[in-house]
Amino acid sequence: MFMRTLPLKLFLFAALCCAGCAHYHDNPPASSSQPGYRYDTVRLPPSKEKPFVVLAFSGGGTRAAAFSFGLMEELQRVTYTAPDASKRSLLQDVEIVSSVSGGSFTSAYYALFPDTFFTDFPKEVLTRNIQGALVWRMLNPYNWWRLASPDFSRIDMAEEYYDHAIFKGMSFGALLQRPKGSSPFLVLNATDIGITHRFEFTQDQFDLLCSDLSGVSVSRGVAASSNFPVAFAPLTLNIYKDGCVPLPLWVEEALKPGNRDKRRIADATAAHSYREPDRRYAHLLDGGLSDNLGLRGPFTAVTTLDSAWSLVKQINRERIGRIIFISANAKTTKKRSWDAKSSPPGVGAVLDVVMNGPMDDVSFDSLESTDGHFNQMKQLGRTIDSCNARLKQAFRPADEQGGTARGPEPEPIPNPLTTDYGFVELTFDDIPDPHLRRCLQELPTNFSLPEPTTRLLRVSAQYLLMNSERFQEVMKRIDAKWQPDQVTIDQALINEVCGKY
């Protein structure tokens, strides 16, 4: 009897061992030997002569990945004449890419493989059936046992797949090995659900966890960033309590009584929480839960000195003359037919609203805040210039005015707001053709789209960039002779993807 059931027993023993061994990839404790993945360690000091371009890629599965890829393709083609008469591509001026969920596949792939990005990304990611591959892994009995472990979940399995199939085992340490300035600073955004706060995969964030990001795979950052709730379990990171660097000084300042800025207090409280003795782990879900545009980090950087990669700091150092933010927003707008009937929508429809409604609201606020801030800065700068012009006029010498002299000309008011700001949002809402607009707005959020659909998304992003009045204005301020490319969207492609009218 014993011998007859031995194979089964051995199988069960092996399977249990397997389950016991399955564990998520630990993020290592802090290391003093690594400078860490930070803006200052991967980028050269910015120059006032060049535009400082920040890209923000939204979530939205393969739809977002293809849309942001289309933007990158067009940026490579946008060339202008620099003040030194050299020809530059705007892609060369991209300093930072901040991304969420589907957009993180594009940003991470570009940061890791900038030389082969434009040839390889479509086949490596856009036309790959990522969703199907993940389902097959779930169906593999070997993984059932691993998934039985409390320390290994579906998101860890997804990370393994991304790491092996797409990101070739590259870690943030590998990004540090690249020549300085060879690829933009990558900011992958997730959400720390313990404190409901944005969590970015940068060494500055990992300093709070007393951990070394260099030993973490890029795929882990992408997995956390695209960790869609319910489909996957939260991704776990270890928080260490030894070898910690002190918290940034602003955290202590922000938590003192007398501060009125609630956002600053919330950010400081979040940063401080990682040092609380009972916080041993951080559990991460999709970045879209806290910011589905990837814009919140850049907004903090351009409005505060608290950000580890603050752009205000660079302005104070006179290293930035022109800031351009481009947001690739692959948001969809589903047409609801509920209100035509008296019966209320079903549970699925309600869940969809519960998930996406607040997300869309937050995104709208982020866009408005960024645009509003840029407009305010430009207006203030103009106000000082106008004041100086009026002062000069009022104190013209007597012979110019035909009257008596009014005393010596006053010193002009120094204008600290000489930075030029440009904000460009690419959204399906701006597609003029109603048929195509509706078609793009109705695209599903998944990781498996037909190849023609990804092509349509790419060319749509290119069309939107070239036809954006905001972008054209920005480019004319850089190079008065710049002209946009003519991008047309092939009607046959529209018909193939969206059906005929």
């Binding site: 501060n259 009125r260 600053r264 203030l380 120094p414």
Partner: protein
Amino acid sequence: MEYFVCRCRGIGEVFVDGVSQGTNKDADGKVSVKLCNPGLHIISLRCQNGGNCVPKTVEVNICDTDPICPKEVHFRCS
């Protein structure tokens, strides 16, 4: 956005919450207006001639300023 200047007879490097913000004066020797977010900040000035600036640090609440009337933080270079 808030605005401040570090007034000092000499030239020094301005630090806000421990992070360098460039020099307190421009190439023409005019005081540079610096930008920051509202709230409490620790400001210090590291003299370019190697001397110490006094006080070593100043904690200020910078709010309700504008670019024409920035908050003035005073230092002495020794």
